[in-house]
């Protein structure tokens, strides 16, 4: 009897996109996991964009990409804290550039040490983290995240980077169980430290695995479920970004996004971007509708195969 009672206390953390959106409000500070265009919780990003949330503060890994640029494109962002924001070999982030050049968002300049140091400070329960590596850079002069101070021992000038405490971290992993134990098939990048620094964590995953897969190989758990508020089963949820080892980024789709966005850099030519957003962000009813619109099972299978074979496109 007691055994049964104990079993009943462990609740599944599986949620729907709607459940997760109920946790997202205007003015919040959201942090995204992944790196460059890998392991992005892209479907949640589109869902947040569709909900019409405003005045968000955003950060993530020191190399942000699709997730921040899209939220800037739909006008959801008030402030972004970034190192590099771009698409690596595919080019710069058009909506970010436009917003900064037109002064429509606040862009706080940081880098790897600034952002990761900021997450570490929160994880350690202190207001800042000491670093040395911004010395001599103008980033130190213009960033609101970094200040110099004199070390209490040795008298050396040290740089304090401000603690970052996101209201919500939104991460994507390759597989998780229903209790939110997240596993990655390759590198987790900065996801662990972002999770530790955030008040709540939403984990999206390509695949839900049985709980006993986790308990039989606990060394493979990267994000332990106790840190996770909610886990969402979103197959191909990182598309058009890569989910490492599962499927490749959709280069053609990212190019379409970048091209449509670049046209809007010119005054008054927002039709292409509006059309893109209508087709892929505002109209899709759910992830399956979205996946059909980007080429359906055929295209997604291609992306899986390309990843498996290490093939060029």
């Amino acid at each position: 009897m007691a055994e049964e009672a104990r079993k009943q206390t462990r609740k599944s953390k599986l949620g729907t996109v709607e459940d997760a959106l109920a946790l997202v409000h205007d003015g919040m500070y959201l942090a995204f996991g992944g790196h460059v265009y890998f392991n992005k919780a892209s479907h949640m990003v589109r869902a947040i964009a569709k909900k019409g949330v405003k005045d968000l503060t955003l950060s993530g890994s020191p190399y942000a990409s699709y997730e921040l640029d899209l939220l800037i494109a739909v006008g959801a962002a008030r402030k972004v804290m970034v190192g590099n924001l771009g698409f690596e070999y595919l080019g710069l982030a058009p909506n970010f550039r436009k917003a900064v050049q037109q002064g429509t968002i606040e862009s706080v300049i940081g880098d790897e040490a600034t952002l990761v140091g900021g997450y570490m400070a929160t994880a350690e329960g202190i207001p800042y983290h000491p670093i040395v590596s911004l010395r001599g850079s103008d980033v130190l002069k213009v960033s609101t995240l970094a200040k110099e101070y004199i070390a209490p021992w040795g008298g050396e000038k040290i740089i304090a980077v401000k603690a970052l405490n996101p209201d919500l971290a939104i991460l994507h992993c390759q597989e998780a169980d229903e209790f939110g134990n997240g596993r990655y098939k390759a590198q987790p990048y900065f996801d662990q430290i972002i999770a530790k620094a955030s008040k709540k964590v939403i984990l999206t995953t390509d695949e839900i695995i049985p709980h006993d897969y986790v308990t039989k190989a606990p060394d493979k758990t990267v994000i332990p479920g106790f840190m996770v508020e909610m886990v969402l089963h979103l197959p191909f949820g990182a598309h058009p970004c890569m989910s490492t080892r599962n499927y490749l980024h959709d280069e053609a789709h990212l190019k379409e996004y970048i091209q449509c966005s670049q046209m809007s850099l010119k005054e008054g030519q927002t039709e292409a971007l509006d059309e893109y957003l209508r087709k892929y962000v505002y109209e899709p009813e759910d992830i399956y509708d979205y996946l059909d619109r980007v080429g359906g099972l055929k295209r997604l299978t291609e992306l899986k195969l390309m990843m498996a074979q290490g093939r060029d496109y």
Binding site: Y89, Q101, I109, D111, E112, V116, M120, S137, A186, Q187
Partner: protein, 266 residues
């Protein structure tokens, strides 16, 4: 002279210049927002000259096995599957802060006569005419022993007297100014561009011509540089790739010819 008539492309020449400068005991950080030339240089050195060199990628792989290059450096390494270890972003933070890394690569939208690099703003940073990509990691210009500069365009807009914004400190205002503010890392040691190879004079820390690529003249370099370069009396021609270097580059590292097809140069 068309590339096809030359022994190698400018990008291949740059990769070879850097590869030859690496040492067996180095701990290389490989990666960055632009990945092609660093990837080729490190893979060439590791597999031809420096078998004991440790290679850590910004994508968190340690000693990835040799794999063919893809436009996306990050993807190239992901394809390889094999590595000594996979680490995480916090590990990268650690090695970035401590000076544990021997070298890293940077390019930029501007670089100046003292090796400072701008990746952020053209014009005033408060109201820029161009907002560049920014930097993932400034620390690799501050804490390691040395870093390499690999500008992929050599013209008066990129080689400027003074950068509009110092994203990555080189020798700042020259002389001892880098040391004076307490930076322990050595600074930019070598710059290879599509036109030539450059280093920094010991006292003034001003950029100096080290060699001129085989198909380039000194006049061409001077005409395309926005500041006065130090030019020694005798400047050699950059040593072309050897047969072994070229074979490994074209057969193993870059079989699809990415480094032969790069646009740009001037």
């Amino acid at each position: 002279m068309a590339t096809s008539e030359r022994r190698c492309s400018w990008a291949e020449q740059m990769a070879v210049v850097f590869a030859r400068d690496m040492k067996d005991e180095d701990i290389a950080m490989m990666g960055g927002a632009r990945h092609d030339i660093p990837f080729a240089a490190v893979m060439l050195a590791k597999n031809l000259y420096c078998p004991n060199m440790t290679v850590i990628t910004t994508g968190c792989y340690v000693n990835p096995t040799l794999t063919a290059m893809h436009y996306s450096g990050h993807t190239s390494v992901l394809y390889s599957r094999d590595a000594d270890a996979i680490i995480n972003g916090y590990d990268i933070f650690e090695v970035s802060e401590t000076g544990y890394i021997s070298f890293f690569f940077y390019h930029g939208i501007q670089l100046d006569k003292h090796g400072n690099v701008n990746l952020h703003f053209i014009g005033d940073w408060k109201k820029p005419t161009i907002r560049g990509p920014g930097a993932v990691n400034v620390s690799m210009a501050v804490t390691p022993n040395r870093h390499y500069l690999f500008p992929i365009r050599h013209n008066k807009r990129t080689f400027v007297d003074k950068v509009d914004f110092v994203t990555l400190p080189g020798f700042l205002d020259g002389g001892t100014s880098r040391k004076d503010i307490g930076i322990k890392g050595g600074g930019p040691c070598l710059c290879a561009s599509p036109l030539g190879v450059f280093d920094f004079e010991e006292k003034t820390k001003r950029m100096r011509v080290k060699s001129v690529h085989d198909w380039v003249t000194m006049d061409e370099i001077v005409e395309n540089t926005g500041f006065e370069l130090l030019i020694p009396d005798k400047v050699p021609t950059t040593q072309l790739p050897t047969d072994d270097e070229l074979r490994m580059l074209r057969e193993d590292i870059d079989p699809t010819g990415i480094l032969r097809g790069l646009a740009g140069r001037l």
